[in-house]
């Protein structure tokens, strides 16, 4: 590449100096004009300031792994959860209309498609950081205020107030959500920075919610563990589930392949959780801490037997335990969870940290699939002693697009 960049031969057809151009009435600083004039006569390599990046070290397979951005659905939903997340909530500026959002989505879709392939974004100032996609997915969602711009089929209802919620608007509903997931935190940071640079003229950041699961190198493929030590997401539809498509993707003609994203920031009270011994912890959830098996079973994947009783006739799984309350009572009360642990500093807590779970769930219809389950948990769940939802938001997630397409472009009618 370098060779091709220095091939231009200096020819003197015309000598057009900057001062001549300045005669057109453009203003640049006197300081610039008084710089050392001899520098202009030194031989220079042409066009050589930002070379196309070259990977100097061989990449690991994990660094090179890509997840297609283009497809019937957006990436980062059915995709097995990567190690890390950065979820960004943004509010559109008051002057931004549908056409403005369409312009923004054109930029962001292009950025996301390139970065997902391990290629620098257009006008990327740190192109080398783009070369390790590490399974990067970037997913775009729109809050209820924006949904009306996308048409009736895209609609989502704001989540109801749940009795146990203690919401802080700092983590509240925003106009736009961008979910960035990858197995490498630097990849995420670069993607986030690139996307936010393109958002700058259109939107302001309300929050960034970072989260983590097991690092890729130590992930053995088992269900995630949360900071309370519990095996989590055991009952979770994946693409292998025959009902997956019906549960997750919308099927209306203009929105086929879209979905809904529920975001809940659930703080865990780790200081009081520390006071609970293992039997109490297992009873609160209804699962064993070591294997994640239900208290009535041996393996994580065993079906919980909610009717089983012990020798004195008491239920082995407490009806008020988390899994007893959270289990789906109908086939449709299921959704795909893709949650991450979070930790930020909090000097007001005895633990010194505000930790918990960035709960993310995808489903076709949150009001039928997610809300009934959350209502039951808000009514009664032994885990509520130690968990408090402090942030809540819902987004419609438009369908994916084919190569070169722009997310939501057709819906925005531009």
């Amino acid at each position: 590449m370098e060779e091709s960049r220095t091939t231009m031969d200096r020819r003197s057809l015309f000598r057009v100096g900057a001062i001549a151009a300045g005669g057109a009435g453009l203003g640049w600083s006197a300081a610039a004009l008084t710089a050392d004039s001899t520098t202009a006569q030194k031989p220079v390599a042409r066009g050589g300031a930002t070379p196309t990046p070259v990977e100097v070290m061989p990449q690991t397979a994990a660094a090179a792994r890509t997840v297609p951005f283009y497809g019937a659905n957006q990436a980062g939903i059915s995709t097995p959860a990567q190690a890390e997340i950065s979820l960004i909530g943004l509010d559109l500026g008051p002057e931004v209309d549908r056409a403005g959002l369409a312009r923004l989505m054109r930029l962001l879709s292009d950025d996301a498609s390139r970065l997902a392939q391990g290629k620098p974004a257009l006008a990327d100032t740190e192109p080398e950081l783009a070369l390790s996609p590490a399974g990067l997915t970037i997913t775009f969602g729109f809050g209820p205020r924006i949904c009306s711009w996308l048409g009736a089929e895209a609609a989502v209802e704001p989540l109801p107030d749940f009795e146990t919620d203690r919401l802080d608007e700092a983590w509240g509903q925003t106009d736009l959500a961008i979910q960035i997931c990858a197995d490498d935190p630097l990849t995420i940071a670069h993607a986030r920075r690139m996307l936010l640079k393109d958002c700058r003229s259109y939107a302001t950041v309300r929050w960034i919610q970072d989260g983590y699961r097991r690092a890729l190198a130590t992930d053995n493929g088992s269900a995630m563990r949360n900071l309370m030590g519990q095996v989590d997401e055991t009952v979770n539809p994946s693409e292998a589930d025959p009902n997956f498509a019906g549960l997750i993707w919308r099927d209306s003609p203009g929105y086929r392949g879209g979905t809904t994203m529920v975001v809940r920031r659930i703080r865990t009270e780790l200081d009081t959780w520390d006071e609970v011994d293992r039997p109490g912890r297992e009873a609160a959830v209804g699962r064993k801490l070591d294997t994640g098996a239900p208290l009535t079973g041996e393996k994580e994947t065993d079906e919980a037997d909610f009717d089983a009783v012990d020798e004195v006739g008491l239920p082995i799984i407490d009806p008020a335990s988390h899994i007893a309350r959270a289990r789906h009572l109908s086939a449709e009360e299921r959704f795909r969870r893709r949650s991450y642990n979070y930790t930020i500093a909090d000097a007001s807590q005895s633990t010194g940290e505000d930790s918990g779970m960035l709960f993310i769930a995808f489903c076709a219809d949150a009001s039928k699939q997610f809300v009934p389950v959350q209502q039951r948990l808000a009514e009664m769940d032994r885990l509520n002693l130690w968990v408090t939802t402090i942030g809540s938001a819902i987004y419609t997630v438009p369908p994916g697009v084919s190569e070169g397409g722009v997310i939501a472009a057709d819906l925005l009618g531009v």
Binding site: M1, S4, R5, T7, M8, D9, R10, R11, S12, L13, F14, R15, V16, G17, A18, I19, A20, A21, G22, G23, A24, G25, L26, G27, W28, S29, A32, L33, T34, A35, D36, S37, T39, A40, Q41, K42, V44, R46, G47, G48, A49, T50, P51, T52, G100, A102, R103, L104, R106, L107, D110, L122, A123, T125, K197, D198, R200, S201, Y202, G404
Partner: protein
Amino acid sequence: MPRVHRLRIGLTLGMALLISPLLASCGASSDEGSAAANVEASASDMADSLVITDGWVKAATDGMTGVFGVLENQSTELVVLEGAEGSFGHMFELHETVPGASGSTMMQAMDGALEIPASASHELVPGGDHIMVMDLTGPLISGDEVTVSLLFADQSRLEVPLVIKDYAGAQEVYVPDEDK
């Protein structure tokens, strides 16, 4: 300034507008299909020989800005880019960047045309060679698209769509005219 005038005159003298068949695909990836089509047409003129990818222009409210992209000569002939024009600015110049005082870089108008040898690529980048646009006719809003016309030595021209991007770099700092 003289060069821009010369090109304007050249155009008003009734030069046929040879719109590249690649127009629709410019700015997208230079996939095999379009590359092949382009080589076939390479005998006709310079505009047909050049494939532009990743064309973009820095967003600006007024004043001046820069045009960037990757120029790939897919023919077996030399391509000579002499200038550019477009409805979004009054003056377009080919610029190069040279080392300035204390490690900085400064830009100046090129002495001549930009030559792209057969089968070679040339990048127009912030901090390097680029097309400078002066006296914008209106704001360039990020996410919008504008078209620049590249003007070649054989009088052919190529319309290139440009994405407008917010960009903090590519600040226009000039060297003084060495001939002054």
